[in-house]
């Protein structure tokens, strides 16, 4: 982030290539998602051309079975993916970090119970867990899918936070800080969270990518956002019947999905290098 800082004599943090590519891919996705709030090439809900048109200058990615513009739907799908990914990670992070920190401070017995519960939750396939939550809620919606994925992520985040926080709490600087009168909440805010953040943020980025894939899977199964919300998963499912005659309908949302997930993973990789000030030296 910072250029060469002459006043501190510290070497500038080097941007890694993966961070740049990751930022570009994710940034493009965010830009497109924001754009759809104001403008889309065509009306996403009504036909704007012939059925199953091949890509042309008018319709860059062609049209679907009902003559709707594919590019428009993929762009709106980017918005859906971001909403679900961000929402799920936000839910997962807030519940997970809170539980993880509590477990790190809990008595031995309570900690063991929490650890075992989390292990059982994590052993459940994320998708299955999400399907159960969606099935339990009245109707499939963007929010039930987001909530479901958020809960699944929170178990993973809680387990990671617990282990990381316990490791930090054993460090000498925690005792040193305590001897100068820092309270336990103060220790969590000042030392524990900043020290586990580099690892946690990488995990959040990875979970974001996984949530986007899971949302696509749920939509593919008809458990995600219902129409008219365009979702890459539903686009893939709708294109299934015409995959031989009009393969672009399956390829295009597939590429969008892969690009966002790879972007997020590269971003995670890059964050790992940037997040730790002690790391700059060896590179």
């Amino acid at each position: 982030m910072t250029a060469l800082d002459l006043s501190t004599g510290r070497p500038a943090r080097r941007h890694s290539l993966s961070l740049s590519i990751g930022l570009a891919l994710v940034g493009l996705n965010v830009a497109v998602a924001l754009l759809t709030l104001f403008w889309t090439p065509y009306d996403p809900l009504n036909a704007s051309g012939g059925r199953l048109e091949a890509p042309s200058l008018l319709h860059w990615v062609g049209t679907d079975r009902l003559g709707r513009d594919y590019l428009t739907q993929i762009m709106i799908g980017a918005r859906t993916a971001l909403i679900v990914g961000t929402g799920a990670v936000a839910i997962g992070a807030s519940i997970g970090v809170t539980l993880g920190i509590l477990a790190a401070f809990a008595t031995r017995l309570l900690d063991d119970v929490m650890a075992a519960t989390l292990d059982i939750l994590i052993a459940f396939p994320t998708l299955l867990l999400a399907m159960l939550v969606v099935a339990a809620s009245d109707s499939a919606s963007l929010w039930s899918a987001t909530l479901a994925l958020g809960l699944a992520i929170s178990a993973i985040v809680a387990r990671l936070t617990r282990i990381l926080a316990k490791r930090v709490l054993r460090q000498d600087y925690i005792v040193a800080s305590r001897t100068s009168g820092t309270s336990w909440p103060g220790v969590v805010v000042r030392h524990v969270l900043p020290n586990i953040w580099p690892t946690l943020s990488v995990n959040f980025a990875l979970q974001f990518g996984l949530a986007v894939i899971a949302e696509a899977s749920l939509s593919y199964l008809g458990l995600g956002a219902p129409p008219p919300n365009a979702s890459w998963g539903r686009l893939l499912q709708e294109a299934q019947g015409t995959v031989y005659t009009a393969p672009v309908g399956a390829i295009a949302p597939g590429i969008a999905l892969v690009a966002l997930v790879i972007g997020m993973n590269l971003l995670a990789d890059g964050l790992r290098d940037v997040g730790d000030p002690t790391r700059g030296r060896s590179r």
Binding site: S7, T8, G9, R10, Q171, D172, Y173, V175, A176, S177, R178, T179, S180, G181, T182, S183, W184, G186, R190, H191, P194, N195, P198, D276, P277, T278, R281
Partner: protein, 270 residues
């Protein structure tokens, strides 16, 4: 006059083993006392017991009265108000005693902020910053602004220990506990840090509990010593008396060992 710290019959046990047994001593305000013994003699256990920060699986019995407050068996919340006010600690290993991800200035600022709030009811940013640079200057660190902006791994071991001392001083404690503060440093740095600590303690008039295995080091900074072995106090008295005329064989062997070491190094006994 009641002592600043009064330890009576302190016994520390962990999983059936007695680490410190029936230890009693007291330190008056402004007094400098040394606790000597080899590794595992219970010196550090005693220090941690005074701060009330021993893990829950270690049992502490007896009485520790610090600044009029009983420490043993008192809930953590109340003890926390004592920490930093009555005591502050400088640890052996200066690298691990500093948060690796926090700039040095910020680490010193926190105890400064707490003290200013306590003393004046508020702590403005500029007042805290001024005090932090002042403290860095006081522990003789060059270019305080640069050090304040640096991370712990960017400064040397000796400088880190100076930072740790600045953090302890930031609290303006009545009693400074120095737990082997020079052990992890090389000999020249040791001498500098020792001189610094000695000067600061005399200047501020705070009491000092100096923990070390190194006799000459202890003799330099304290007035009174207590010799510990296997958690038992062997003898206690003025530095001169204990070292020139040890009443216990063990103390004699420690003194002899130190003397032999000095001779081997070609140093003249001081």
């Amino acid at each position: 006059m009641s002592a600043l710290l009064s330890v009576q019959g302190l016994t520390v046990r962990a999983s059936g083993k007695t680490l410190v047994s029936d230890l009693s001593f007291s330190i008056g305000s402004g007094e400098r006392m040394g606790l000597i013994g080899e590794s595992g003699s219970g010196k550090s256990m005693t220090a941690m017991a005074i701060t009330g920060l021993l893990p829950a699986n270690i049992s502490v019995t007896g009485s520790i009265v610090l600044d009029g407050q009983e420490v043993v068996g008192t809930e953590d919340k109340r003890l926390n108000r004592l920490r930093g006010v009555a005591t502050a600690v400088v640890f052996q290993e200066p690298l691990t005693a500093l948060d690796p991800l926090m700039r040095i200035g910020k680490q010193i600022a926190e105890p400064v902020r707490r003290r200013l709030v306590r003393e004046q009811g508020r702590a403005t940013r500029s007042a805290v910053d001024r005090e932090v640079l002042d403290l860095l200057d006081k522990v003789a660190l060059p270019q305080p602004e640069r050090i304040a902006n640096a991370y712990p791994h960017e400064v040397s071991g000796g400088q880190r220990q100076r930072v740790a001392i600045a953090m302890a001083l930031a609290c303006r404690p009545k009693l400074l506990i120095a737990d082997e503060p020079t052990t992890a440093l090389d000999v020249t740095t040791q001498a500098e840090i020792l001189k610094l600590l000695d000067g600061l303690v005399r200047e501020t008039g705070m009491a000092l509990l100096f923990i070390s295995h190194d006799l000459p080091v202890v003799a330099e900074v304290v007035e009174r010593v207590m010799v510990l072995r296997d958690g038992i106090a062997l003898e206690e008295g003025a530095v001169v008396d204990v070292f020139s005329n040890p009443s216990h064989d063990y103390t004699q062997t420690l003194v002899d060992a130190a003397r032999m070491f000095d001779e081997a190094l070609g140093r003249t006994g001081s």
